[in-house]
């Protein structure tokens, strides 16, 4: 695969395999980055881009595969080892020291004297023509400036390979232009750059090469000039076989009665990260909200549920205004939400399956004393109904597989008898079998007349489950798809901002 003419590539990755538990994130990835290349790495959620980059920067170790830097095989066990090899990762969320100055952030961890570091840093900043003051405190910097400082850290460590993980996700337009200017300068110096993004516009603007990751594999790779936008989107779409299986699922489409009233109405809802969202969901239907990370969907969902503030607009549940009701109010009135980050916001890992299932309905099952009997009944009912694989009600939730954990959380939410349900990435990180089970559960809920709002970055999932779809991009709804109009390529394009 490596051409013998010219110098060895800066970085070469071959046969990379990495799994987390039963979740295979990278199945077989091989890439090469040469000097002065800017390789855009594109892929949906869970495609494996971040994992690959974390392996390259010493944060994870691969299960299989090799890494070669300038022709020599290396093993990168720690970030320091990666730094020593000239690889530096600029994380998506800058990891600066908030209470230190820019200068201190830059020089910390470097071996040279502060004066030397300062001199080099100042020279760099001048050359790049950035308005960055060395004495400002890191927590007073805008995200763009923080990212610049992170990049400077990499440059000061004489990074030969710079990995930028979604660098523009929090930048304004002008800041993005500054960044691109810098990237061009770095290229001129021979630095190789991995540029992770899902903004296809940027791929064509700044990258020299592009690689598309899908399901842990590289589906498309080569110089940017060889591709068009449509071809890239093709690479993001599922392979034929999967496409077939998704279509094979017979979806019970929902037909609205002519005078049906919507179960949930969002009326020009605005908050932090989303603006002017208006939509309606009817009983018995699934409304999909598609988009990529950073579109604002989870912020919207959580704010509607009662976590996080709504700055404007109204939320109407079966006609009643529940804006600002808070979590308890929402649950009581019939709106519930399955959190996107299951581990952080959904699981009581050390508690039993039973305790997890009843956590939201304790008060309705019994007044003061633990309604153990009714708890047990409820838990058995759901364990059976959803085929939850567990050794018993008392098993600790942390011991269950991802799919079964998700089923428990779904049970918990359903136990509150919601009329409207918001699902956020419901099948992330769970195996195919459990995924099928979840889809069946959703179908059954539809049949019972529940209204479902489905937030997902998995386009196939949206396609397979939704009756209607809206896509969000940069915090607003940019396209709506009616019952007959949902198609994978349209969804994909809109999610990536191509309308």
């Amino acid at each position: 695969m490596v051409e013998q003419n010219g110098p060895a590539p800066l970085v070469e990755v071959e046969g990379m395999v990495k799994s987390f538990g039963e979740n295979a994130v990278l199945r077989d990835v091989s890439l090469a980055l040469r000097r002065s290349d800017v390789m855009a790495v594109v892929g949906g959620n869970g495609a494996g881009k971040s994992t690959l980059m974390k392996i390259l920067s010493g944060i994870y170790t691969p299960d299989k595969g090799s890494i070669r830097i300038e022709g020599r095989e290396v093993s990168l066990h720690t970030p320091s080892a990666a730094h020593a090899m000239g690889v530096y990762l600029v994380p998506q969320e800058p990891l600066l020291f908030p209470n230190m100055t820019v200068e201190e952030n830059l020089s910390l961890g470097l071996d040279e004297s502060r004066a030397d570091v300062r001199r080099r840093a100042v020279a760099l900043i001048k050359r790049l023509d950035w308005p960055l003051s060395m004495s400002r405190q890191a927590n007073s910097l805008s995200i763009a400036e923080q990212q610049l400082v992170e990049i400077l850290r990499g440059l000061l460590r004489s990074a030969k390979v710079l990995i930028l993980d979604e660098p523009t996700s929090s930048l304004t337009f002008a800041e993005i232009q500054s960044l691109f200017k810098l990237i061009k300068e770095l290229r001129a110096e021979g630095v190789g750059i991995f540029y992770i993004t899902h903004r296809l516009d940027e791929v064509f603007e700044i990258a020299t090469h592009v690689a598309i990751l899908r399901d842990g594999r590289v589906t498309l790779e080569g110089p940017v000039g060889d591709f068009t936008r449509e071809l890239l989107l093709q690479g993001l779409l599922p392979s034929e076989s999967r496409k077939g299986s998704a279509a094979a699922r017979t979806k019970t489409l929902h037909r609205n009665a002519p005078d049906a009233k919507p179960a949930l109405v969002l009326d020009r809802v605005s908050g932090y990260g989303f603006r002017d969202i208006s939509l309606s969901v009817y009983p018995g239907e699934v409304l999909g909200i598609a988009g990529v990370v950073g579109a604002g969907r989870t912020e919207l969902a959580e704010a509607v549920f009662g976590i996080g503030k709504l700055v404007g607009g109204r939320v109407l549940l079966e006609g009643a205004d529940i804006t600002g009701c808070g979590v308890r109010g929402s649950i009581r009135k019939g709106l519930n939400y399955i959190p996107e980050d299951r581990r952080r916001n959904g699981l009581f890992g050390a508690a039993s399956v039973r305790a997890n299932m009843t956590s939201a309905v304790l008060d309705t099952l019994g007044r003061v004393f633990l309604p153990v009997f009714r708890e047990r009944k409820l838990t058995s009912k759901y364990i059976e109904e959803f085929s939850i694989n567990t050794t018993g009600q008392e098993q600790s939730l942390g011991a269950l597989s991802g799919g079964n954990q998700q089923k428990v959380i779904i049970s918990r939410i359903l136990a509150t008898n919601p009329k409207v349900l918001i699902l956020d990435e419901p099948t992330r990180g769970i195996d195919a079998g459990a995924r099928g089970d979840v889809y069946r559960i959703i179908d059954a809920l539809k049949a019972e007349g529940l209204a479902v709002l489905l937030v997902s970055s998995d386009m196939e999932e949206i396609l397979a489950l939704s009756d209607r779809v809206v896509t969000m991009y940069n915090g607003t709804i940019n396209r709506e798809f009616g019952p007959g109009e949902i198609a994978l390529d349209g969804l994909m394009a809109a999610s990536f901002g191509v309308c």
Binding site: P79, S80, H83, L95, L96, F97, P98, N99, M100, E104, S107, L108, G109, S113, R114, S135, N139, S142, I143, R153, S170, L171, T172, F173, A174, I176, Y272, G273, R275, G294, G296, E299, N474, G475, T476
Partner: protein, 338 residues
């Protein structure tokens, strides 16, 4: 290279201290005599050492409630040694050994055994308090040689030796923490642990070092205590750990870690100690002392926490709203191009 006062907090603490002096002086001018100010400063030296050492630990995000017990034990050891005629270097060495050893024990327990700092240092506090009693057989250590007892009255160019020593030590610490390469590591560990790991800071070693410094400083405080008081009673050091923590907080050292300086802790220590004597001069009964100190601490901490939360939320919102600015600018750019 001078420690800069860009941090508002230290400045506020210094201002508060000055205002405190002036305020009390205006009610009772006797307070502002040179002699009295000198006395107040001398009384603060012990707390200055305690708070300075504690700052290292708090900067790294931990806490150390054993400092009072270390003070007591090292005071007992030092007093016993000096009473029994050992040379000065042995006396000081013995005290420092107690402090450093305890610090090492604390550090190891917190890092390797993963015992939460509050639990670990509470435990060593208990052990040392009891050990001190056993060591002194429950009796006071008295009859200390004169030279030792008078050491606290030596003046260098008119400034009390101990006060001078405290200021110098704190100055050197401040210099180290703000300018030395490894000095920054302490605040880094408390400020952003993941970030510190990412840039290669030896986190475990730094945390242990912080506890050792705290122990050594407490030992120094014990030596000062012994010389100033002239004997070591049974409850030497009891309760001083709380005063030390309060001094740090008042001096701008955030208990969340990452922020603060020993200079601020010094001012905080002076403030805490001054409140004691101030009450006498203000003709306020001494029994108000704890209440005032407690209220002061709670107010500072509450203000600090609320400010912190407000700033964090503001930053988060700014970040989330960057999306719209981006979209708007892009539209503007496209329009301009069209």
């Amino acid at each position: 290279m001078l420690p800069s006062f860009r941090m508002k907090r230290e400045f506020n603490a210094l201002l508060f201290a000055v205002l405190l002096f002036v305020g009390i002086g205006s009610v009772n001018p006797v307070f502002l005599t040179v002699r009295n100010i000198a006395l107040t400063l001398q009384g603060s030296v012990m707390y200055i050492f305690l708070a300075a050492g504690m700052t290292f630990v708090i900067l790294t995000g931990d806490i150390d409630v054993s400092v009072g017990a270390v003070l007591g034990m090292s005071a007992a050891v030092a007093a016993t040694l000096v009473r029994d005629g050992y040379p000065l270097w042995a006396v000081v060495g013995g005290a420092l050994l107690v402090g450093g050893g305890t610090g090492l024990l604390n550090g190891v327990g917190v890092t390797f055994l993963r015992i939460p700092a509050i639990v670990m240092t509470l435990g060593t506090m208990g052990i040392l308090r009891g050990a001190m009693f056993i060591y002194t057989d429950g009796k006071w250590v008295e009859n200390l040689p004169d030279f030792f007892k008078q050491a606290c009255q030596i003046c260098v160019y008119g400034i009390n030796l101990f006060v001078l020593a405290a200021v110098v030590v704190v100055f050197l610490m401040q210099l180290y923490l703000t300018t030395a390469r490894r000095g920054k590591y302490f605040a880094a560990v408390g400020d952003n642990l993941d970030g510190a790991v990412l840039v290669g800071v030896p986190v475990v070693r730094i945390r242990i070092a912080a506890f050792v410094v705290s122990g050594l400083c407490s030992a120094l405080a014990g030596l000062v205590y012994t010389s100033q008081i002239g004997f070591v009673g049974n409850v030497a050091g009891n309760g001083t750990e709380m005063t030390a923590i309060a001094a740090c907080v008042i001096g701008g050292v955030s208990l969340a870690g990452g922020t603060g300086s020993v200079a601020g802790a010094l001012f905080g220590a002076v403030i805490m100690n001054t409140i004691n004597s101030a009450l006498v001069f203000l003709k306020v009964p001494a029994y108000w002392n704890n209440t005032i100190s407690g209220l002061l601490l709670l107010t500072m901490v509450l203000a600090d926490s609320l400010l912190h939360r407000y700033l964090e939320e503001k930053a988060r919102r700014k970040r989330l709203n960057a999306r719209f600015a981006r979209a708007a600018e892009r539209r503007a750019c496209d329009d301009a191009r069209a």
